[in-house]
Symmetry: C2
DNA sequence: TTCCGCATGTAATCTGTTACATGATTAC
DNA sequence: GTAATCATGTAACAGATTACATGCGGAA
């Protein structure tokens, strides 16, 4: 998903300025969607204009100098071709999961528990925002937009359910069995202990 | 989440070569986690070695020249400090959602439906893989790894549920109401029609 | 009159990918 | 013997971020 197509998509909603697009993403990117910096937005807008996909609307003397960009016929065409092209499969890239799955038994679970508690709070906040969003009275959300928001809600609720379950399991030290056909858990701890031991010796 | 820390995390499981790490991610990155290219792995391994976080194990004359990397005491320390640091909140960056929420009523829903059907298939495949993974008899998965896999499963199942629901809604043309306080849906379609109309005129 | 928010823009930098080069070993 | 896989590495490139520069308008 290129920045260019994202910009076309945003401009399809209504004509906007570069600054405007950035603030829009800033707002919703409270965890939703993702950010774009001025350093990529302005040059790309310029490029899109050069390529004939967007043009600047007359700013009707609003005092401030600003460039309101709008799609050209070619811009609409390009945008809709992009819409029709099959979307790529999203990657799950979650630092919490990476940390959790490489956590080891010689490390205090309390730190992991506080990661989970923090995640719980953040997800609750985001869920609250997402639930209010289509009811706030001023944001434009299409019918299909409502469907995607429904997905985000379901996902966040699932995440909260999982966090709750995991916290109970961790606090009761009731972890499920792993799959460890070659006794790697013990090897790992042994490798680590030896390394740490060597370090202590050297430090003395 | 830097590549460096990801490499330390992978090496904490067991000593590996650069090639090895790449294949590992290739395999699981059937959608899970994410990829790394040789162009970033090898230079980073070199850097980590220079920084004293990893070192090369004797390769015990396995014939092939290869570098088996292992964590140093400093490597373990760095890795565990990273584990303890609060993970950043993941961003939802899903091209399907972006396309769906900017889809408009003058575009055929059939294309959107085929995007959803394709996603359904891909997610089913991934779910199947994730369910088999901890039972395949050879992969090492720690107890906490099982918990994270449980999360992925729940998430994928939620996604499938949402896709089913959405397909029914789309096929019955039974979409929920959007939020459109300023009649933007009509404005959008009008802007587009005018642009497309102009193009047709010019083309004649 | 000073500060903050609106608004645009660029240069330096960072990070990562692609594509290629190289060569050994194993499977057919 | 030759194709595929294992294995390491780099140079050129692409993409995006950070940090800075600039300036207007309105509010305190």
């Amino acid at each position: 998903m290129s920045v260019e197509h994202t910009l076309l998509a945003v401009l399809s909603i209504w004509p906007s300025t570069g600054y405007n697009i950035k603030s829009e993403f800033e707002h919703k990117a409270a965890g939703l969607y993702w950010g774009m910096s001025y350093g990529s937005i302005y040059p790309k807008l310029k490029k899109l204009e050069e390529d004939g996909f967007i043009y600047t609307l007359e700013q009707e003397e609003e005092g401030r100098k600003k460039k309101l960009y709008e799609l050209t016929p070619e811009g609409w065409e390009e945008f809709e071709n992009w819409l029709k092209a099959p979307p790529s499969y999203p990657v799950i890239k979650d630092e919490l999961l990476m940390k959790m799955s490489t956590w080891h038994e010689d490390m205090d679970y309390d730190d992991l528990i506080s990661h989970l508690l923090k995640r719980k709070e953040q997800t609750e906040d985001l869920l609250e925002f997402v639930k209010e969003w289509p009811k706030n009275g001023y944001s434009y959300i299409s019918k299909l937009g409502i469907l995607t928001i429904r997905f985000i809600e379901m996902r966040l609720e699932t995440e909260l359910r999982w966090i709750e379950e995991s916290l109970v399991i961790l606090k009761n030290d009731d972890l499920p069995d792993g799959q460890d056909p070659y006794g790697n858990t013990e090897k790992l701890l042994e490798r680590r202990r030896r390394a740490i031991g060597e370090k202590k010796e050297n430090d003395q």
